[in-house]
Amino acid sequence: MELSHFKIGHEGREVFWNAEHFEPFLFFFTFIALVIFAYGLYRRWLIWSAIGKAEPEDRKSNWKVRLKNLVIDGLLQRKVLQDRYPGIMHALIFFGFLLLFFGAAFDATEFHVAEPLGFAFLTGKFYLFFSFLMDLAGLAILVGVFMALDRRYLSKPDRLGYRGKPDNTPDDAIALLLIAGIVITGFFIEALRIAVTWQQTPWEVWSFVGWTLASALNGISEPTARALHKGMWWVHTFLALGFIAYIPFSRLLHMITTPANYYMATLRPTGTIEPIRDFENAESFGVGTIEEFTWKQLFDSDACTRCGRCQEGCPAYLTGKPLSPKKLIQDIKTYWLEKAPAAIQAKKEELRAKMAAGEETDKCAKVLAFLDKIDQAIDKYVPARPETGEKALVGEVISLDELWACTNCMYCMENCSAAIEHVPKIIGMRQYKVLMEADFAPELQLTYRNMENNSNPWGVGSHLRGEWAKDLGIKTLAEDPNVEYLFYVGCAGSFDDRGKKVSIAFAKILQAAGVSFGILGSEEGCCGDSAMRGGNEYLYQSLAQANIEVMNGYGVKKILTICPHGYNALKKDYPHFGGNYEVYHHTEFIAKLISERKIKLKKSVADYVTYHDSCFLGRYNDIYDEPRKVLKAVPGLQLLEMERNLAKSFCCGAGGARMWMEEHGERINDARAKQAIETGAQTIAVGCPFCLTMMSDGLKTHGKDETMNALDIAEIVWKAMDLEEEKPPVDVCKT
């Protein structure tokens, strides 16, 4: 082949060099690879849709936002890159592949469209740049693959396994080696071509990897090079096509499912749980069998890449509980894969029956019927997997210890690189245990009875709810419904001795700032968060409705809370039931009072303070800055950060109804208190009464309750305002 039309100034290369007659074969094999790919995807779709039930949540509308999520997280890898080493590793492979993919597309366009039409564009400077970029991309992929091999087989971080046992599958190695193989053979093809043509094409030095490799092949005879090139060309082609065909049957499927999952990711406020709507007529509640998951929930687990980001910060996992969010998702997936053959069979029967009865006449059904035929043909040759014995989803596939260990801290969902929604699945299964089987921890049963009878988890008489405010001159809404803000105190602030101090501090701050507010007193009820997150949706809704009735009765519009759980429920969940309010957490509100100069912080309270991000403030509601701003406004206060903070904060252990349950083994609050102690701070500042209890208890465990303390931000601020003389403890015998 002459190279006359390539010369300096018109640099370029012949696309099918030394492979002139391969093209029809290439088309043929590509077609086969694509058919296998499509069939694999269809098969997968059949499984999700055959097993899962309809998805009640809208996953389609608002396409602009969805597309944005897809671009930012899927294409630009925002979430993936939040983790340095694995992020870079994945980005090298991903972007490298993307470039090579577009490169191949360019090549194809050049050869099939541009050149025949006479406007070849892969020439000149652009060609040089293109060559350089393609080699760079290949190199990046190789570096990424080596990083991945190192992680998986040498450095083996815990998150790529479960309790020190790597969860590697042959598929992991195959995928990585396929990728490496494609790139390496690609480089060799390039090098062999350059080894033959380099004298005519000195610009190929821009294909710097191929050029270097070609120099290493120096002295190879042209016929040998050409023969080797031909062989290598086919190896490369088959690897690449094999890769495409392999996608739906391997972990590579995440190339499709993960971006799709980003597109379909919930757009509702973090942590929203789809309320059960029809208690009267529903046959079953919650998720007791795999079929009670929605198809999207099953699809989710096919988007999981086993990256382990979720596991790395799961407080349950890190304190030795059997729960790992990654394992949970993977166990669900393994289970539905086991169920798949039977489910597909059933789905086909159903379709056949429908078609026989003439019920399904739309196009979709026809396509399905066609695919069904393919399937039947293939089923003849591929024996069905033997069905394993029946296992219960809840209790066996997912053990009860796993199910109940979750604190609903939202670490997993917030940090997942595939937009997987773990928490709703966990709550769904809890709903099944609580609502359907009424089989759950006795201590939690007691809590729920207390909430039923006295509208608080401790079971203290509900008439005592307003007692804490007795001597503070705070009006109830019954006395004055015209106040601007309702201070919704919540159960901890009303009944727990430690929590009451926080309510008092906040109320005094409000009074000093001249804020018009009132409380509901004994008309207030439990917000229901612990019921909802513990699976007792029925109790939760009855509590929510009772509160909404009272608050709407007074025409409440703005609400202040000191408890992030109440804050979250009132703000984001009550609208489901007709409670629409403007809700502020006290840290937000205090920050506002400070910036408006309504209160002044004059006195120093503690020198070194570390702030513990509550899950329901931080990850659930994105309130990270306000509490820190408030703390920094305290004179002389220096804020020390724990390593796990902000969106990666470590839960205190109280969320998800865990506050009311026994904890066995290492306690989450102790682990967190230890992290706080390690900062060297004297005070752990919190914005949640449950975190307050948990951190105080943790300090006691570590014998630090004498030298350190846990304080709510409201308490710190009230002290710093210096409006009340601190009374030294009274010696009763001296008075």
């Binding site: 208690f279 509640f285 609580v434 089987e437 049963q445 729920y448 009878n453 008489g461």
Partner: protein
């Protein structure tokens, strides 16, 4: 097996009890009503027997209209049907009149075993179970913490001072339940929903053929005196001095030793 569980609706243990100004009773405003906890043990045991031997559990309850909620609670736990004795003539019934009404309601029913709570936590009289057994002419074992039913007899364990007493009895009999017998179940949601549709017979005194006449009459309700504040012993700083002062106070002021 035909099992009957008698239940009473009482104020929640944490409820604020206010005596009416005229001392005629308690002010019911704002009170949360619940099933008497001891009756709950009875209902639970009834359900466990039903699960073991098959049969039916009937709930019998005396009380005003609000008591229906308590019957539904027992039905939600898994009982099959209820009898609600609702008659103003019986609202002030003493233990005897109550037992008489219950006996009248139960008489016409087939039964192998009858459960009552060992006492109700509101009036604490603890007599209804025994009187009921007497009126029906069957044996009673009170304060039962363990029950084993076999064929036509039952072995019931009850605590006595420092020991356990195991009592054998023939069926039918009355068992009064106390803490330790079991852990009452939490009602499932389908249970709650189904309970709404289970049959409950409402009967008045006339239908039962009882007069409702009490043998005992409450003269007056008086709230307990407010608890006096605690005392801190300061007299002497030495442990011995404090102990001496404590003994003196216990003897002279509190008059307990």
């Amino acid at each position: 097996m035909n099992i009957i569980a008698c239940v009473k609706q009482v104020p929640d243990t944490e409820a604020q009890i206010k005596v009416k100004a005229d001392g005629s009773g308690i002010d019911e405003g704002g009170i949360k009503w619940v099933m008497n906890p001891y009756d709950e043990f009875g209902v639970e045991e009834a359900l466990r027997l039903k699960e073991k031997f098959g049969g039916e559990v009937t709930i019998v309850c005396l009380g005003p209209a609000r008591a229906m909620e308590t019957i539904r609670t027992a039905l939600a736990m898994g009982a099959d049907k209820g009898i609600h004795i609702d008659d103003p003539a019986l609202y002030e019934a003493d233990s005897y009149a109550t037992a008489e009404a219950l006996a009248a309601a139960i008489k016409g029913l087939p039964y192998d075993i009858i459960f009552c709570g060992q006492r109700a936590i509101d009036d604490d009289s603890g007599q209804v179970g025994s009187i009921l057994a007497e009126l029906l002419g069957i044996p009673v074992v009170t304060m039962v913490t363990k029950l084993e039913v076999e064929g036509n007899s039952a072995k019931a364990t009850r605590p006595i001072e420092g020991a356990q007493l195991v009592i054998s009895t023939s069926l039918p009999c009355v068992i009064t339940a106390t803490k330790g017998l079991n852990e009452p179940r939490y009602a499932s949601l389908p249970g709650i929903m189904k309970a709404k549709k289970k049959p409950v017979d409402i009967k008045n005194a006339a239908a039962l053929g009882v007069s409702g006449a009490s043998k005992a009459k409450v003269v007056k309700f008086v709230p307990p005196p407010a608890r006096p504040p605690g005392k801190i012993i300061c007299a002497d700083d030495t442990p011995e001095g404090k102990a001496a002062e404590l003994v003196k106070l216990l003897r002279e002021e509190a008059k307990v030793i």
